[in-house]
Amino acid sequence: MDSIVILFISGLLGLFVGMRQQTLLSLIIALGGIILAALAAFFREAYHTPLANYSNYIPTPAYVIILLCFVTLLAILGGYKRYSQDKDHIGDYFSLILFSLCGAIMMVQPNDLMLFFIGLEILSIPIYVLVGIEKGSALSAEAAVKYFFTGSFASAILLFGIALLYGATGSFQLIEIQSNLAFGIWSSPLAIIGSLFILAGFVFKIGAVPFHFWGPDVYQGASNAVLMYMSTVVKIAGIYAIVNVFGQVFRDSYLFWIDLISIIIVLSMFYGYITAWKQNSFRRLIAYSSIANAGLMLLALANTQNSNIFLFVSAYSFATIPLIIINNVANSDDDDLKNWEGIAWKNPLIAIALVVALFSLAGIPPLAGFFGKFSLLWSALPQIPYTVILALIASLIGAFVYLKLLLLALKKPSVQVKQSIPLDQIIALLITTMASLVALYFI
């Protein structure tokens, strides 16, 4: 309970401080709130939902909440430069992010479908606002409208699925649903259609094929600072929710949906990476790369006993955030890949962070991305070997994409211009790079 309350209170505080346009104080309140929330989760060891009082209650693992808080903290640090330029709205940014983080924490709890849906909405609505917060920009407005409509539609489908499942089993609790389904309600069409609808809603949220179409436009319209939060925390929360529901509730119908998931994985990875190859815009490239990575994350569903997603999502976040920060340095608010040419020569820290992040995303050991992929493949290989091999071939294409970006950034420019980075971004870059490098010691 503590984490959500702390986050909520510091979000409210941030709103009031924001009215006085004190940027640094807002930042301190937001960071303090997040750190306190993470500490609370750490000392409680497991997180208990305030709204539920179940007999057989499963607490949320603390490390997931800490990861969510940590990634949000990095996203706020990386985006602070952009936020502080917009003094009128500084409080709004931080509060919206903190509120949305509350939703993410509710969403990763493995108990109740209804709570989970509420969490999803709390997570999404602030992000709709954040995407459209640049009122002057047409792209931003377009992105917000697109995201809002498609997102609401997906929520509706998800809710419909939950309702059908309730009709079939008479409960919102995951454990009860599972035990009821085990009695043979799987023959009931309600449960089957419900599970398909829930799957569609989830796949939309993490942005995998065939519900990926909103991704590139929304990513392109959002500013770098918002993108840092959006492309990481939403994915983490979404994939944990999907693993909780499908790994637990629908465990008995594994053979029914695993083929579907395999198709989604293969399509997402090939589509994401092949399309990313031809992009001229950095944020679209990141969007397609995130589609492919969403496909990879779904590999966690292959082994319901031991779904090892933590390493991969953290490695993905610690590689995506520095890339977006570097894009911010290269392009400020723009996102043309042309400006990336020779970016590594502007600052040694950029060069190191860039090399580490891109090799980590490409999955080259001994960086974190490799261990993430390795743990996913490790649990999935015995269950769905052909999907895993196709996924590996797709990640070869992915290595192509990241390498192309790396070569572009490393190209020696004719005139070398040094560029300094603000302190908050330096901290974020250092933390993410170190995290990618020392992953070896945590396996």
Partner: protein, 466 residues
């Protein structure tokens, strides 16, 4: 253990040291590693295994005599690379020195690691530094060639990754000794596929015949130091993996299945490489295809899996490193001074640079496997072993000597003699003479006394043959 960490420490030092001292740091630090490894081997009893780790469960190390040979070879190669490039621009760069030491760390890891996952980790770790070195210091006008190199290697590595995971899951073991003891005969055809994954990675790296197309282009475009590192030591990772890991572990059905396909590809590589080398005009390309041809013979010998060929394959591995450094250094000297390596534009260098002509001739004869050099004894026993098993293959393998004489003498004769086309040619510097002399001494020493290698590695090779 300190032996393995030394390069990593040097790499960090090179990042923070002032760039004016970079030449000396590179030279002295690589000499330190070499001396440390030689001192440490003198205290080493070849019959024992030394186990140690760095606190990571999945990556543990062990030192045996084969590992020691490769460690000393690696350290020697890095020392010679730094020494031979002492007057070149590339050594002055902090990035090169730091990355080269990082790569040395990766290589030492490959040769000493004791767990299969660790082997994969270090194998891939070497790829990042060499990629950056090639990109920053090579003349890759468009990056297609470099991409090709990287993706070929990555493709092989991913196949190996599937095999590593599969092997660990089937046997529930990960250390070398446990994997050797594990019984793979029960899994039948799965073993063939698992071994295929490893072989694909090795075939790209060695390279074997259909997977070699990255090699010549990359060697030609790479900076000369990068080419030396690639051909003198990086390719040996694959041979080492074959010798130490794959062949002993998959002994049985899988090895029998793959033996003749691989030997056939190697024989094709021997002849194909030699024929292409005869036709080509560029010195670097000629040496690249010569390398393809020589390594084909070693691979074919390794696939036969008897203790004698294994020992002499190790001799041949050492010899190939000597030859590769020497020849690519000669090509590098010509390229650096005359800006071309096309043999049609070269001629009469012997008149202006007699010392260079002499040492280049010595290296040419070493690579021709003249008796009393290390190449002769290695090639002789490898070819003899192939003869014993299959006469026709033996005859084909023999062609490597004849064809080798054609392309090597052509590559020597055209630039050195003939009409003088190059009036100005700075003769060798002290560092270059030192490298050539060290290489020749080593080649002659191992040619006269190959027993010092074969006896030393025999202990660790015992368990790799049935």
């Amino acid at each position: 253990m300190i032996l393995i960490l030394l390069p990593l420490i040097f790499s960090i030092i090179a990042w923070i040291a002032p760039s004016s001292t970079m030449r000396l740091i590179g030279l002295i630090a690589s000499a330190c590693s070499l001396v440390a490894s030689i001192i440490s081997v003198s205290f080493f009893n070849p019959t024992e295994h030394v186990l140690f780790d760095l606190g990571v469960q999945l990556v543990r190390f062990s030192m045996d005599s084969l590992g020691y040979i490769m460690v000393i070879l690696t350290n020697a190669v890095f020392f010679l690379v730094f020494l031979s490039n002492y007057y070149n621009q590339i050594i002055g760069h902090r990035r090169f020195t730091a990355l080269a030491f990082l790569m040395q760390f990766g290589l030492l890891g490959v040769f000493t690691v004791n767990t299969i996952l660790g082997f994969y980790l270090f194998w891939e770790l070497t790829l990042i530094p060499i990629f950056m070195i090639l990109y920053w210091f090579g003349s890759f006008e468009n990056s297609r060639v470099l991409m090709k190199f990287f993706l070929y290697t990555l493709f092989g590595s991913l196949a190996m990754l599937v095999s590593v995971i599969g092997l660990m899951q089937i046997t529930h073991q990960q250390t070398y000794d446990a994997l050797l003891a594990a019984d793979l005969s029960t899994i039948g055809n799965a073993g063939i596929w698992l071994m295929g994954g490893f072989l694909l990675a090795f075939a790209v790296k060695i390279p074997l015949f259909p997977f070699h197309t990255w090699q010549a282009q990359t060697y030609t475009k790479a900076p000369i130091a990068g080419t030396m590192l690639l051909s003198a030591i990086m390719l040996k990772m694959a041979l080492f993996g074959l010798l130490k890991w794959v062949l002993p572990i998959f002994d049985g059905i899988a090895t029998d299945f793959w033996r003749w396909p691989i030997i056939t590809l190697s024989l094709i590589g021997i002849i194909y490489g030699a024929v292409i080398a005869i036709r080509h005009q560029n010195l670097k390309t000629i040496f690249a295809y010569a390398s393809l041809s020589h390594l084909g013979l070693i691979t074919a010998g390794l696939m036969l899996q008897n203790s004698q060929t294994n020992e002499f394959a190790v001799v041949q591995i050492v010899n190939h490193s000597i030859v590769a450094i020497g020849l690519f250094m000669a090509a590098g000297i010509i390229e650096q001074r005359l800006k071309t390596t096309n043999i049609n534009e070269l001629g009469g260098i012997a008149k202006v640079a007699p010392r260079f002509a002499f040492w280049f001739a010595v290296l040419t004869f070493i690579s021709l496997s003249v008796p009393f050099t290390s190449g002769f004894i290695g090639e002789f026993f490898l070819i003899k072993a192939i003869f014993d098993v299959h006469v026709f293959s033996g005859i084909l393998a023999c062609t490597t000597l004849v064809l080798g004489a054609i392309y090597m003498l052509r590559a020597y004769q055209a630039p050195m003699f003939g009409p003088t086309k190059n009036e100005k040619f700075l003769d060798l510097r002290w560092s270059e003479i030192a490298v050539f002399a060290l290489l020749s001494l080593a080649a002659i020493y191992f040619g006269l006394a190959p027993k010092c290698i074969t006896d030393f590695v025999a202990h660790s090779l015992i368990q790799t043959t049935h």
